[in-house]
């Protein structure tokens, strides 16, 4: 499933975008505690392509994708 989410992000002067908080569909906010890795990647599970941020949120690793300005996460029941 492709779950679109809201994101609070910082746009760096060099054009990089650093997500700071993710806003889930119910309005709850989740701090992005750490970003391990950023690269372009396809999400076969969700069906999409974008800049993939490997983030730590509540001590779990989550893939957050920026697909041309719309953000989504791979909605994975098993984490």
């Amino acid at each position: 499933m492709k779950q679109y989410v809201g994101v609070i992000a910082q746009h760096e002067p060099d054009g990089k975008i650093m997500p700071i908080e993710m806003i889930w569909t119910d309005g709850r906010r989740y701090e992005i505690e750490r970003i391990y890795d950023v690269r372009r990647a396809a999400s076969l599970k969700s069906g999409g392509v974008g800049n993939r941020y490997a983030c730590r949120i509540r001590s779990r690793e989550v893939y957050l994708y920026d697909e041309d300005g719309r953000w989504f996460v791979e909605d994975n029941e098993n984490g």
């Binding site: 990647a41 999400s43 392509v49």
Partner: protein, 410 residues
């Protein structure tokens, strides 16, 4: 010096992109094509499962459905294909600046002297791996010392494979293949060759070029050179995968006044211009298509004084073409506006003429309109003229458009 040439071909391009976006489709036979209710719809692409049912590109949708009742039809999303084509090209650009596109899904790359590696296969494998990981689709890549054999190689193993053809092994790998696998051998040439008992590329290669010239003209000699690995054509950087961007519509009622025509032309020109901007193109020629209510149609084109991606300019040129070619009274049923002779916007010559400053301002204005429409929808902002006849201007032309890829023989 021996060249190192790659030919990369995305496997089932349109279908692969659709299957990436809709995971549920991946286990079904899928054909990309227009509305199957319309009799003229054809299969533009299919996935591997549909291929197993014998579905063929170019066949009518109703025919395909008869062959495979479970076939799922997906309408084409050209914007996605253009985006993917651009992203694939960005990957190629990490290995060479000599890239020649051949349609949206194929490219030749000259990687001779690439700093990444001296081994074409290593680069080809790396490119395939990146396309799969970054874009979620696959490519077949041929590696050889000329463009013709590189293209043959990319056809030999699918999907997701690298095939090399060298000076030492081309006679083993290429010569047993049917002659029509060779680029530029069409059905008429292959029929003629068959008449002389020439069925394989090897047989073609061993035929006297003098004879081939008699049978096929100068093309016969060219094909003989190709079959012997003597193609020396360079990978040229100055071609673009898209030849033109156009949009046409059949109007809800006959257009009988210049005002009617103007509304429709502006609507089409706006959509064409916004697509030009979206893909970073300017056009040098505008083409107008007109069909009247007796189904008589014609096409006329005009060069623009200055290359442009501004809808005003495109609409003016189209209106002028209409004025010059249609006399009152008229009853027009279909109109089409096409931007041809495309070039990338960033290679536009700088000019300080007052006219180009005015054009620049219009371009900025229209880009602002694009961004409003992207955020709030097409009808959030409109020209005043569109309000004079809401029936005519109610189409959202961006959803219905066509792109024309380069032809196979340029």
């Amino acid at each position: 010096m021996t060249r190192v040439i790659l030919h990369s071909d995305i496997n089932n391009f349109y279908a692969s992109v659709e299957c990436l976006y809709n995971p549920a489709l991946r286990s079904m036979p899928v054909a990309v094509g227009g509305d199957p209710e319309l009799r003229h719809g054809i299969v533009l692409a299919k996935n591997n499962i549909a291929k197993k049912y014998g579905i063929k590109t170019g066949e009518a949708l109703w025919q395909a459905k008869r062959r495979c009742p479970d076939l799922v039809f997906v309408p084409p999303h050209y914007d996605r294909y253009i985006r993917f084509s651009r992203m694939v090209r960005e990957i190629y650009a990490d290995y060479t600046d000599k890239i020649e596109p051949f349609g949206l899904d194929e490219s030749w790359l000259d990687v001779t002297g690439s700093l990444v590696s001296q081994d074409g296969k290593v680069i080809a494998d790396k490119i395939r791996e990146r396309i799969k990981f970054e874009l979620g689709i696959t490519a077949s890549v041929g590696v050889s010392y000329n463009k013709i054999f590189a293209k043959l190689g990319s056809d030999m193993h699918k999907p997701d494979a690298t095939t090399t053809i060298t000076v030492a092994d081309f006679k083993d790998k290429v010569w047993p293949l049917p002659v029509r696998e060779l680029l530029y051998v069409g059905s008429s040439a292959s029929r003629k060759l068959a008449g002389y008992g020439i069925h394989t590329i090897g047989a073609l290669a061993r035929t006297e070029p003098r004879l081939l010239k008699n049978w096929l003209g100068i093309n016969g000699v060219m094909l003989w050179q190709f079959a012997n690995g003597m193609d020396i054509s360079p990978v040229s950087n100055d071609s673009y995968p898209i030849k033109s961007i156009g949009n046409s519509t059949t109007t809800p009622r006959d257009l009988v006044s210049y005002e009617d025509v103007k509304i429709t032309i502006y609507m089409l020109a706006e959509s064409v211009a916004s697509r030009l901007r979206e893909n970073g193109f300017i056009c040098r020629t505008v083409q107008l298509y007109v069909r009247d209510n007796k189904l008589v149609s014609f096409e006329r084109q005009a060069k623009l004084p200055e290359p442009s991606c501004v809808s005003d300019t495109i609409a003016h040129a189209s209106m002028r073409l209409f004025d010059l070619n249609v006399n009152e009274p008229f009853a027009v049923r279909s109109l089409g506006v096409r931007a041809c002779d495309l070039a990338p916007a960033d290679c536009r010559q700088l000019s300080f003429l007052p006219d180009s400053e005015r054009l620049q301002k219009k371009e900025e204005l229209e880009k602002a309109v694009d961004s409003i429409r992207n955020r709030f929808g097409h009808f959030a902002i409109q020209r005043g003229i569109m309000l004079t006849d809401r029936n005519l201007s109610s189409l959202n032309p961006r959803d219905d458009h066509s792109i024309q890829q380069i032809a196979f023989l340029r």
